[in-house]
């Protein structure tokens, strides 16, 4: 069967600035990644990677981004991701870093990985909260844990609570 094979790259946006989370948009992230590919691989790389390049999924609370590209050029994309230094939106630049979590052939595999990853992150957050934070934070994180348990059973994406 002749069909186009894609690769879906799951990344996480790390930044110091808490305002950066609010300004994560798909256009801004797409532009930043394209710019990085252009700087590292030049015109050829930029053209190769942007054949089927889109930002498929974005979660501003956790900073999770899912990018799609062709299978032939996913190496160019992956090798250029460490060179993304800042996100630019609304005429403001926020320094950030992209951390690659998983590369998969379909959205479903990336979703499965993301559910496992979020579960682990929630466990870690819960450990920290129970040691230091007050009762309200503990309650919030417990509630968010139970919510996500229900969501994961129904197979949806998990949303992390902004209790960090």
């Amino acid at each position: 069967m002749v069909r186009f094979k894609n690769r879906y790259v799951l990344c996480e946006v790390l930044s110091d600035d808490p305002r950066c989370r609010q300004c994560i948009e798909d256009r801004a992230v797409g532009l930043a990644v394209r710019d990085a590919i252009g700087r590292v691989h030049g015109d050829y790389g930029l053209a190769c990677c942007s054949i089927s390049f889109t930002v498929k999924y974005l979660n501003a609370y956790t900073g999770t981004v899912l990018l799609r590209c062709r299978k032939d050029s996913y190496r160019l994309l992956c090798s250029a991701l460490p060179f993304v230094r800042y996100l630019e939106s609304r005429a403001q630049r926020y320094p950030c870093a992209l951390n690659t979590l998983h590369v998969g052939g379909t959205i479903r595999t990336c979703q499965k990985f993301l559910i496992q990853y979020n579960r682990r992150q929630l466990l870690m957050l819960l450990q920290n909260c129970t040691n230091e934070e007050e009762r309200q934070c503990i309650r919030k994180s417990l509630l968010s844990c139970s919510l996500t348990e229900e969501q994961s059973q129904s197979g949806d994406e998990e949303d992390d609570d902004g209790t960090e």
Binding site: D16, C78, L81, R85, N99, T100, R120, M124
Partner: protein
């Protein structure tokens, strides 16, 4: 300290804190390394496993003169306290000396300038035999475009000589945002001309080998060969029941 926190959250299992000694200034004394317990009351756990993250201390000597190497041979107590020792040679002779005779774990390869010397095969092969690893930094590549060119050209020339063995990629990150996750660093290795398995090894197995090399350098000052054969027979004589004695002696 923020940088270390980001390291842990991104998924590294061992981190080394670097202390650079430059010999241009006179009267350099080697300072005692900052012990990691001062920074963290309790080390956090590696993601996905139950072991604690290791924080090691590392010393980098920037040598531009053969007389600086004497410091390594001196019995200064402070050097022994560092877990990993790295050397940054500036000339070809020093590179040769570092690969063949110096007692170090890593040889740093300059990425911020065009190399003044070309690599030659004999010292590189000797270093590989001795278990010394070559180190490349990736943070200058992220910051600046001209440094990126030098990084890639130096890295590729190193690859052509050493065929991708014994390479460690590390970051000289001063800020938490200059750090990249292990998967990303392995992808950077692809840019440097490594194959995929070699790139992954450059981040994982080679680093662990360097740590072990540092440990053996710290602890083993000499090798004592025990001749095991007669001992084994004695032990077997004492532990093995009588019916088997005939077989072992035969």
């Amino acid at each position: 300290q923020n940088t270390l926190n980001v390291c842990f959250s991104v998924g590294y299992s061992a981190v080394a804190l670097n202390h650079v000694i430059d010999f241009k200034e006179k009267k350099q004394e080697i300072i005692k390394p900052v012990s990691p317990s001062e920074l963290f009351p309790s080390l956090p756990i590696v993601q996905g496993t139950t072991k604690r993250i290791k924080v090691l201390t590392r010393l980098t000597l920037v040598v531009s003169d053969p007389s600086h190497c004497n410091l390594l041979r001196s019995t200064s107590a402070n050097i022994r306290l560092y877990d990993i020792i790295a050397v940054f040679p500036k000339t070809e002779k020093l590179f040769h000396i570092a690969c063949t005779t110096l007692d170090v774990d890593l040889v740093c390869i300059n990425v911020t300038e065009k190399l003044p010397f070309y690599f030659r095969r004999p010292p590189v092969n000797m270093a590989i035999d001795r278990g010394i690893y070559f180190e490349l930094l990736y943070t200058p590549a992220i910051k600046d475009s001209t440094m990126r060119r030098y990084t890639i050209s130096n890295a590729i020339s190193l690859m052509q000589i050493c065929k991708g063995k014994n390479i460690v990629i590390s970051s000289a990150a001063e800020r938490p945002l200059e750090l990249r996750g292990p998967y990303d660093v392995a992808n950077l290795g692809l840019l440097f001309g490594l194959s995929e398995s070699e790139a992954k090894a450059a981040v994982s197995t080679n680093c662990r080998a360097t740590m072990l090399h540092g440990e053996t350098r710290k602890t083993a000052c000499g090798v004592v060969y025990t001749v095991k054969k007669p001992r084994k027979v004695e032990e077997e004589e004492t532990t093995v029941p009588a019916c088997k004695k005939a077989k072992t002696q035969a």
